[in-house]
C-alpha cells in the first residue's frame, strides 16, 4: 500500500450537520475551494423547520413574535451568546442565502419575513419557528384562522396520529376533523415507515390512488393536513399535485425524527454544496489534525479510504456539534473537545452539570458547555489566545448557548457559519489569495 492520498483546499469543514453544511455552502458561494468531512446523517434529526430565536430568556420561557426583537434583547442580556455576536443584517443575509440555496436544490421555503410563524406538531402542540417549508406553511395560516380542516393519517404509520392532534386541539378548533386511510399498496403491511410512503407518493399511480381515497372525505374542509410524507426528492411536485387535485390548500405536519423533512433537508443540502463544487467525504472521520506554526496550512488525516487521505487546508472550520455530533465527549469528570482536546468552557465539577430539577425551566449548565471563541470565531487555547490563526468554530459546539431551549438551533448554525466564513474569507484574502 502506498502512502496517503493528498489533496489541498482553501477550507476544510469538519462536520456535515446544519452548521457544517451552512459553512461549506457559504464558503463555496464565496469562491473558496472547500472539502467537507463528516456524515450528514445528523440532519435526519432536523424537522425541516428553521428556528432563529424563539425563546428568551430561557428561564422565563418567553416566546418572541419577532426573532429580531428577541435578538436585540439577547444582545442586551447575554452579550457572550454566539447569536448575540452576529449583527442582524448578517443574519438576514445568511438566512436568505441558505433558503435560496435550498430552493434551488428543490426544497422550497415560504418567504422569510421579520416574524416567527406557528406550526402544528405531530402531537398537537404548537411550535414557534422562523423558516417554514412551503409544504407546511398552509398549516401555519390554518392554525391562526382555524377554518374547517381535515387531518389525514395512514393506518400503520405509528409515529403520526391525526386523532391525537384533533383530541388535543379539538376544543379550541371546532372544525377540525380526522380520518384514517390505508396507504395504497401497503394495505397488508402492519408497520409503515414515513420515508417509504414519501417515495411511493412520487409515483403518479400511488399518488392518484391516495388522492382518490382522500377526496371523498374532504367534505366542508377548506384546508387538509397530512403527515410529512408528501414526496421526498420531488416533494414540491407531489405537494402541488395534491393541492391541484383537492383545490384547497394542503399542508404537512412534521413527524417525529428521524423524519421525511429531515431526509429532504439532508438531500437538498448535500445537493446544494455538491453543486457548488464542495468535495464531500461523507464516510470519513478526522483521525488527526495538526497545524504549521504561524499560519501556513493545517493537515487533516482522514480514515475513510484504505491508506488514509491527507487534506491540506489553509483554514479549518470546526462544526462537529456537541455530544450527539461527537464534537464533545464527556466522561465521568470532564467534557472534552474530541479532535484537538481544545479547552471546553464547562462547569467546574460534575455536580454542577445539572440543576436539581430535571425539568428546571432555566436548563442545565452542561447544555451551555462548549468552545469559547474570539471576535473572529477562533477557539481559544488555555492561554486565552486563538489556538491557530486559521481555525474557526461554528454551530452548537460553541459555548454560552442552550439552543434547544432557546429554539435557536438553525439560527445559531446558519448565523455563526456565515460570520465565520466571513472571517475565513478575510484571512485568506489578507494572505494574498483569491
Amino acid at each position: 500500500m502506498t502512502g496517503a492520498r493528498q489533496v489541498s483546499c482553501d477550507l476544510a469543514v469538519i462536520g456535515a450537520g446544519m452548521a457544517g453544511m451552512a459553512a461549506a455552502l457559504f464558503a463555496a458561494e464565496r469562491g473558496l475551494s472547500c472539502i467537507q468531512i463528516g456524515n450528514s446523517g445528523g440532519l435526519l434529526f432536523a424537522s425541516g423547520l428553521l428556528d432563529l430565536l424563539g425563546v428568551h430568556p430561557v428561564a422565563e420561557g418567553r416566546l418572541w413574535q419577532s426573532p429580531y426583537e428577541g435578538l436585540a434583547a439577547l444582545v442586551r442580556d447575554q452579550p457572550d451568546h454566539p447569536l448575540a455576536r452576529v449583527d442582524a443584517a448578517s443574519i438576514r443575509n445568511a438566512f436568505e442565502t441558505f433558503v435560496a440555496a435550498l430552493g434551488n436544490a428543490g426544497l422550497a421555503y415560504a418567504p422569510l419575513t421579520d416574524w416567527n410563524r406557528k406550526v402544528l406538531t405531530s402531537i398537537g402542540t404548537v411550535k414557534t419557528t422562523f423558516g417554514v417549508p412551503r409544504s407546511m406553511v398552509a398549516g401555519s395560516y390554518a392554525l391562526e384562522a382555524r377554518p374547517p380542516c381535515l387531518l389525514v393519517d395512514f393506518r400503520g404509520l405509528r409515529e403520526f396520529s391525526a386523532a391525537q392532534i384533533a383530541a388535543t386541539l379539538g376544543d379550541r378548533w371546532p372544525g377540525l376533523r380526522h380520518q384514517q386511510v390505508a396507504f395504497p399498496g401497503y394495505e397488508a403491511v402492519p408497520e409503515l415507515y414515513a420515508a417509504h410512503l414519501a417515495r411511493a407518493l412520487e409515483s403518479g399511480e400511488t399518488r392518484g390512488r391516495t388522492i382518490a381515497l382522500v377526496k371523498p372525505l374532504l367534505g366542508d374542509a377548506r384546508v387538509v393536513g397530512f403527515p410529512a410524507v408528501l414526496g421526498l426528492a420531488r416533494a414540491g411536485a407531489v405537494h402541488a399535485a395534491f393541492e391541484a387535485a383537492f383545490r384547497i390548500p394542503v399542508f404537512e405536519i412534521p413527524t417525529m425524527p428521524t423524519s421525511v423533512p429531515g431526509l429532504r433537508l439532508q438531500g437538498a443540502l448535500e445537493a446544494a454544496v455538491s453543486a457548488r463544487g464542495v468535495h464531500r467525504r461523507q464516510q470519513a472521520r478526522v483521525r488527526a489534525l495538526s497545524f504549521e506554526a504561524d499560519g501556513g496550512t493545517a493537515t487533516l488525516e482522514l480514515d475513510a479510504i484504505p491508506g488514509g487521505e491527507r487534506v491540506l487546508a489553509r483554514a479549518v472550520v470546526l462544526a462537529t456539534g456537541r455530544f450527539s455530533g461527537r464534537g464533545l465527549t464527556a466522561d465521568r469528570g470532564r467534557v472534552r473537545e474530541s479532535i484537538l482536546g481544545l479547552p471546553v468552557a464547562q462547569p467546574n465539577s460534575r455536580e454542577a452539570w445539572h440543576q436539581r430539577d430535571f425539568l428546571d425551566p432555566g436548563g442545565h449548565a452542561i447544555n451551555r458547555a462548549g468552545l469559547s471563541v474570539d471576535a473572529a470565531w477562533r477557539p481559544l487555547g488555555v492561554d486565552g489566545k486563538p489556538v491557530w490563526p486559521g481555525l474557526y468554530a461554528v454551530g452548537s459546539i460553541l459555548a454560552h448557548q442552550d439552543w434547544m431551549r432557546a429554539k435557536c438551533g438553525s439560527g445559531l448554525s446558519i448565523a455563526t457559519a456565515w460570520a465565520a466564513v466571513d472571517q475565513v474569507t478575510r484571512q485568506l484574502r489578507g494572505n494574498g489569495a483569491g
Binding site: N39, G41, L44, Y186, T258
Partner: protein, 574 residues
C-alpha cells in the same frame, strides 16, 4: 539410431498426436455446459462454427482476427497487459522452443535448405542451439516462479497436465544438453571421426590433433599427458584446419554443453564405455516423440486451444466492428473450448473480487480457476457422483457467491469469456438441484436456524465463531452507538418494497442492529433482511451515528454461509 526405427517412431507419434487432437477437439462439440447448451446437437455446433468461420473470412472482421493473431496469439498482448514478467517468460519459451524446433529438430528440412553450409557443429548454430535451450529453461523457471504468489495466497489449482508437459519439456532439454556434452567430451567420438575423415588411427599422426582438441575442444582423453606441449598444439592447429575446421567450430560457444562437458570430463571413459552418446540420443529423441504423441493430452494442448479462444474472442468481441451475435450453438462450443484453453495461470484468481471472501470462508471454490474445474467436473458427471457431495456444495457456494464483476473475463490472458461460463455453470448447478446459499439459508426461518445453532453447540468449529473473521459483528463498539432511530429502516428500499406480509422481510435493519446489540447474532443469520439486502448502502450513508449497517449485513451473510454451512443437512433441511 537406425533410420527405420526413427521413422517408425516419428510416424507413430504423429498419428497418435493427430488422433488425440481429433478426440480433444471433438469434445468441443460433445461437452455440454449450461442448460441452454443441452438442446444443441453436435451437428448444430459444427454448423455454427462453419457459419462463424465463413462469416469472419468474408467480412471486415477478418482484419480484426488477423490483428489478434499477430498481437494476441503471437505477441501475447493480453498477458503483457497483465503481468510483464510472465509475458517475458512465456515469450522466451515460445521463441526458444520454436527456433529449436525449426533450426535444430527440423534441421534436415529447414536449416540445411535455408543456410548454406549448415552444420550443427559450426557456429553460430552451436551457440544458438544452446541459447535457445537456455531461453526455454529460463522461461519455464520464471513461469514457475510467477505462479508462486497465486499459490501462496490462494489455494491455487495445480494442472496435472501442465506438470506432465513441463516435466517432458525439461527432460528433452536436459537430455539434449547432456547428449551434446557427452559428445564434446567423448574420445570415442574423436577417434570415430578421425578414422572416418582422416583415414588414420596412427597415434603418432593424431598426437598434435589430440593435443589441440584436448586443450581447446574439450575432449577428455584419459591418457593425455599434462601439461600439453604448446608446440604440439600449434602443429595440431594446422591438421585441424585441413581436416576438421570445415565441420567443427570450437565447442566453447555452446556455452552450456561445453561447461557440462568439462564437468563430466573425469567420467568420460565410463560414459564412453557405457555408450552414453547412444542412449542419450535415444532418450532425447524418444522424449521428443513422446511429447509430440502426448501433445493433445498434456498442458501443451493449450497451444491449440488458447489461440482458438483468442481468435474467437477477436471475431466476436471487438467493439470497433459489428460483432456477430453468438448463437447458442456457437456459445456451447466455445464454453467447451474454454475448458481446454485455460492454462491455470491463476491471474483470474489473483484479480477476483471475491478472493477475500474465498479466504474468509475457507472455500477456494469461489475462485475462477476452481470454478472452471468444477464446471468441467460437472459437465463430465464427476461432480455429482456419490461421495462428492461436499465438493458439490462448495462448488455451488462458490458459483453463487460470485458477484459477476467481470474482472476475470477482462483479465484472462487467453480471452476466455468466463462470465458466460459462470452463468452457464450456475444454470447447470441449479438444474442439478444444488441450491444457492440464499436458497438454502432461507429454506428455514431465521428463528429456526438460531434455535438449531443453540441446540447443537458442538457442531461448529472454532473457525465458525472466530471473531477475527467477523470483526464488525463481534465488536460491541460497532453498534454501541445505535439509538434505534430507524433511519436505516426509513431509507431502506428493501423494506419499502416489502409490502407483502407473508413474503416480506422478517426484521428491519434497525431490528437486526438491535439483535446484535443484545448479543443475539445467531438469530440474524438466516433472516430475510440480511439475505435480501441490496447492498445499496443507503442505511450506512444515512446513519446519524456512522454505523456500518451495510457492511455488517455483508459480514452476516458471509458468517451465515460459514456457520450455518457446518450444520446444514444439505439434502433436505428438516
Amino acid at each position: 539410431m537406425s533410420p527405420g526405427l526413427f521413422q517408425t517412431a516419428l510416424y507413430a507419434s504423429l498419428a497418435l498426436c493427430g488422433l488425440g487432437l481429433i478426440w480433444r477437439a471433438s469434445a468441443w462439440f460433445r461437452v455440454r455446459i449450461g442448460t441452454d447448451a443441452r438442446a444443441v446437437t453436435w451437428s448444430g455446433r459444427m454448423a455454427a462454427v462453419f457459419r462463424g468461420t465463413t462469416w469472419v473470412l468474408f467480412s471486415r472482421r477478418l482484419f480484426a482476427v488477423l490483428g489478434a493473431l499477430f498481437l494476441d496469439v503471437l505477441l501475447l498482448r493480453r498477458l503483457y497487459t497483465n503481468e510483464k514478467l510472465r509475458w517475458f517468460a512465456h515469450l522466451l519459451i515460445v521463441v526458444g522452443f520454436t527456433l529449436l524446433l525449426l533450426v535444430h529438430a527440423l534441421a534436415p528440412i529447414v536449416s540445411a535448405k535455408l543456410f548454406q553450409g549448415y552444420q550443427p557443429t559450426l557456429d553460430p548454430y552451436l551457440f544458438l542451439r544452446d541459447l535457445f535451450g537456455v531461453m526455454v529453461l529460463a522461461g519455464a523457471a520464471l513461469l514457475l516462479l510467477g505462479r508462486r504468489p497465486a499459490r501462496r495466497e490462494l489455494a491455487q489449482t495445480r494442472g496435472r497436465r501442465n506438470t506432465v508437459f513441463m516435466a517432458l519439456l525439461a527432460f528433452v532439454l536436459v537430455s539434449g544438453f547432456l547428449l551434446e556434452a557427452s559428445k564434446i567430451a567423448s574420445p570415442r567420438a574423436f577417434y570415430r571421426m578421425t578414422d572416418q575423415f582422416m583415414g588414420t588411427t596412427d597415434p603418432q599422426t593424431l598426437a598434435p590433433l589430440r593435443a589441440l582438441w584436448a586443450s581447446e575442444f574439450g575432449v577428455a582423453f584419459a591418457d593425455m599427458k599434462q601439461p600439453i606441449d604448446p608446440s604440439l598444439v600449434e602443429q595440431g592447429r594446422k591438421l585441424n584446419s585441413e581436416s576438421c575446421a570445415a565441420c567443427h567450430a570450437k565447442p566453447a560457444s555452446a556455452f552450456v554443453s561445453y561447461q557440462l562437458a568439462r564437468m563430466v570430463a573425469s567420467v568420460t571413459s565410463l560414459l564412453d564405455e557405457g555408450h552414453a552418446d547412444v542412449w542419450l540420443l535415444y532418450l532425447h529423441v524418444f522424449a521428443c516423440f513422446l511429447g509430440l504423441a502426448s501433445l493433445p493430452f498434456t498442458g501443451l494442448f493449450h497451444v491449440v486451444a488458447a489461440p482458438l479462444s483468442l481468435l474467437i474472442n477477436a471475431a466476436t468481441q471487438d467493439r470497433a466492428l459489428p460483432a456477430q451475435r453468438f448463437s447458442t450453438a456457437g456459445r456451447a462450443a466455445r464454453r467447451a473450448l474454454a475448458l481446454d484453453a485455460c492454462v491455470r495461470c491463476g491471474i483470474c484468481d489473483l484479480r477476483c473480487s471475491v478472493a477475500p471472501l474465498a479466504r474468509y470462508l475457507g472455500n477456494a471454490g469461489l475462485l475462477p480457476s476452481h470454478k472452471l474445474l468444477a464446471i468441467g467436473a460437472l459437465a463430465g458427471g464427476r461432480l455429482l457422483r456419490a461421495g462428492h457431495e461436499g465438493e458439490a456444495l462448495r462448488a455451488a457456494d462458490g458459483a453463487f457467491l460470485c458477484t459477476d464483476c467481470g474482472r476475470c473475463t477482462s483479465r484472462c490472458p487467453v480471452g476466455i469469456d468466463l462470465a458466460d461460463l459462470w452463468e452457464a455453470g450456475r444454470s447447470d448447478l441449479a438444474a442439478a438441484g444444488l441450491p444457492t446459499p440464499a436458497q438454502w439459508v432461507q429454506a428455514r426461518p431465521a428463528l429456526e436456524w438460531g434455535e438449531f445453532l443453540q441446540a447443537h453447540p458442538g457442531l461448529h468449529t472454532l473457525r465458525d465463531t472466530d471473531a477475527s473473521r467477523a470483526p464488525l459483528s463481534a465488536d460491541r463498539s460497532t453498534f454501541s452507538r445505535c439509538v434505534q432511530c430507524q433511519t436505516c429502516t426509513n431509507v431502506c428500499p428493501v423494506v419499502a418494497h416489502s409490502i407483502d406480509a407473508e413474503h416480506g422481510i422478517d426484521l428491519t435493519p434497525q431490528k437486526v442492529m438491535n439483535l446484535l446489540r443484545l448479543g443475539l447474532r445467531d438469530l440474524t443469520l438466516g433472516s430475510r433482511m440480511v439475505w435480501d439486502c441490496a447492498s445499496c448502502y443507503q442505511c450506512q450513508e444515512s446513519c446519524p451515528e456512522g454505523i456500518r449497517v451495510a457492511d455488517i449485513m455483508c459480514e452476516l451473510r458471509g458468517l451465515a454461509v460459514r456457520r450455518l454451512g457446518s450444520v446444514r443437512d444439505w439434502k433436505e433441511p428438516s
